[in-house]
Amino acid sequence: MRILVVEDDDTVASGLTEGLTGAGFTVDRVAAAEPGEAALAHTAYDLAVVDIGLPGMDGLELIRRLRRKGIAVPVLVLTARDAMEDRIAGLDLGADDYLTKPFLLPELLARVRALIRRSCSVASSELALGPLVLDMATHSARLGTAPLELTGREWDILEQLMLAAPKVVNKQKLVESLSHWDNELTPNAVEIYVSRLRTKLDNSVGDGKGISIRTVRGIGYRIDDNPAP
């Protein structure tokens, strides 16, 4: 997995480079938007981390140009100006996610992994969260090395949770997106499927421990690979 970091501040950039490298990514770094644009045009990166406040062309303009050229690389935006947050979050500027400085490295890594997970599930038809992998092509799931037997509904729900992680998935939205006109899903049914999924994840053997589906009362569920406290 290859990531381009476009960041002018050396301390932040070297921290990012080192942190991402340590997490197993291959990292290139440029200090301005222009070389960043060139690099992204010539090399197939899996993700770009782009600072908004760059000297010369700013990060938003860089993203706009990339999208105009049809380069669909996922972009995680870093910003020191919270006034940008609403524009990035609310308007479709082409960024896929954003983080406000200062941020914690684990938080950044989680966002990076989530973005790559989503884009890879499209590209390589494999969706992974820690040891949990869903293979879209063969419709098979495995936890570490052990295969995980899932029913159709369980698969659907797990896929939605994994695509959204580390965000909480609204139960009502799960119901709406998974209901077909000939096959209605009820919130109660979702609860039953989730409880079955938990049992299957907990009962799995080997190195697959540590995947948890958390309940947020009144909203829904979140899946993560942090062991339960």
């Binding site: 301390t11 921290g15 870093l78 909480v168 947020v216």
Partner: protein, 467 residues
């Protein structure tokens, strides 16, 4: 002495404009009416003198008719009845005397010796004199007959003259007094009416909050006061731009701090991984300090952006509180899990007019506080919904220790921390309050129904879109 006092009064910056107006009107009016009373009295006295002088002259002329010549000498043939007629007067005492050309008194009262006027130019001639300590009016009439010149002097005390003049003066004084009183009343109400715009102006200034630095409206203000309003507005403008500059500096400083803090924080986390185990506790403390530093920077920025001076109008948009709650769920789930706190939501679609960013900060601070001050295994519940048509609310309830009543008055003060044992910036609830105010919303703090913990509720103003 009086002039000095007046100087002091004129130059005294304080004191009521009102009092000054009354003083400068009342004092001259009283002096003028006093002068008017004196001059009236004098002119009345002159008038009554003229009338009574005429009567006095008649007596003198009547006496002159009684003068005859006997053996070459002048004699006055005055029968007692005539003398009685002459002297009869209910009020005043009348004196008379007749002198011959040798200034010998040939008839009449001894008191008039040497009282005749010496000026021969006027006939009859009047003057004022004193007899036995009493003021008298004296007429000197020179009659020339066959026996030579006779000087007839008639005098009377001035009681009835004074009485008449006093009566007339009392009448005019009463009229003067009534006029002064009427003038004062007119001025009193007139000034009050005229100063009413000033009273209105001062009330509108007095009712302002300290942060309200908008210019005063100068419509409906009298032209004399307009320069004052203009000067106040200029001052307001200066204060406002000073405040704005301060806010801009704070915002900018907080922004500028973020990148170096981000750099330090990532470097620190990386360093922590490579250090030997014995350095871990120190590293943990460092990491903790940095987390607090970055939190504080963020809080200060939030406070600056939610201040009254910040221009928020362009940020206001329809914002769904339910969406904000869902986002907060993702943000705070880990913190809640770390303390084994049950974080729950009871929400419905609730649209309010507001700044997304600030409302997110408000909610984040309330949830952060709730999780921070609730014991392991506790419950935190976030609610949003409507308290009637178009009145949205946002509520965060916990079953933690709660805030003691005596500390509740201070919880919105900047840097105040009700529980000094807990780490925190002391800015969270200040931000909550500022954001609440920017949205014209109200905040209440109650005990939850369970009787334990705290329940903060933000109630938004009625949404005009719902009619």
């Amino acid at each position: 002495m009086t002039i000095r006092r007046l100087d002091v009064l004129l130059s005294r910056p304080r004191g009521s404009l009102w009092g000054r107006l009354m003083l400068f009107l009342l004092a001259p009016l009283l002096v003028l009416s006093a002068l008017s009373i004196v001059s009236d009295y004098r002119s009345n006295l002159a008038q009554s003198n003229e009338a009574y002088d005429h009567a006095l002259t008649s007596s003198a002329v009547a006496l002159a008719a009684l003068i005859g010549v006997h053996h070459g000498e002048l004699r006055v043939d005055l029968p007692p009845s005539a003398e009685a007629m002459l002297r009869i007067d209910p009020v005043d005492k009348v004196f008379f005397a007749v002198f011959d050309s040798g200034n010998r008194r040939i008839a009449g009262d001894v008191e008039l010796e040497n009282k005749a006027s010496v000026d021969e130019g006027l006939n009859p001639d009047f003057h004022d004199d004193v007899i036995k300590g009493q003021n008298v009016r004296v007429v000197t009439y020179r009659a020339r007959g066959s026996g030579g010149e006779a000087v007839i002097v008639v005098a009377e005390t001035v009681h009835k003259r004074e009485k008449a003049a006093t009566q007339a003066a009392t009448k005019t004084a009463t009229a003067d007094f009534l006029l002064v009183m009427a003038t004062l009343l007119t001025v009193f109400f007139g000034v009050r009416l005229a100063l009413a715009p000033l009273t209105g102006l001062s009330t509108s200034i007095a009712q302002r909050t300290p942060s309200d630095l908008r210019p005063l409206p100068d419509s409906g203000v009298p032209s004399e006061v307009r320069p004052l309003v203009g000067a106040i507005n200029q001052l307001m403008g200066n204060l406002r731009s000073a405040h704005e500059a301060q806010q801009a500096f704070l915002t900018n400083a907080a922004h500028q701090l973020r990148t170096p803090i981000a750099g330090l924080q990532t470097q620190l986390e990386l360093a922590a991984e490579t250090l030997p185990a014995e350095a871990r506790p120190r590293m943990e403390r460092l990491r903790d300090a940095f987390r607090r530093l970055s939190h504080l920077t963020h809080q200060m920025l939030a406070l600056a952006r939610s201040s009254a001076e910040a221009d928020l109008a362009h940020e206001f948009q329809r914002t769904d509180l339910q969406t904000l709650c869902e986002e907060a769920a993702s943000e705070f789930l880990d913190a809640a899990l770390a303390k084994n706190i049950d974080l729950g939501f009871e929400t419905e679609k609730t649209e309010v007019q507001g700044s997304r960013w600030l409302l997110r900060e408000l909610l984040a601070n309330l949830i952060d506080n709730a999780i921070r001050y609730t014991q392991e295994g506790g419950h935190v519940t976030v609610r949003c919904g409507h308290k009637g048509a178009g009145i949205g609310y946002l509520e965060v309830e916990d079953n933690g220790a709660g805030i003691p009543a005596e500390k509740q008055a201070h919880i919105f003060d900047r840097f105040y921390r009700a529980d000094s044992q807990q780490p925190g910036t002391g800015l969270g609830l200040s931000i909550v309050q500022e954001v609440t105010q920017r949205h014209s919303a109200t905040i209440t703090l109650d005990r939850p129904a369970s009787g334990q913990g705290s329940k903060f509720c933000i109630t938004f103003p009625k949404d005009p879109a719902t009619g």
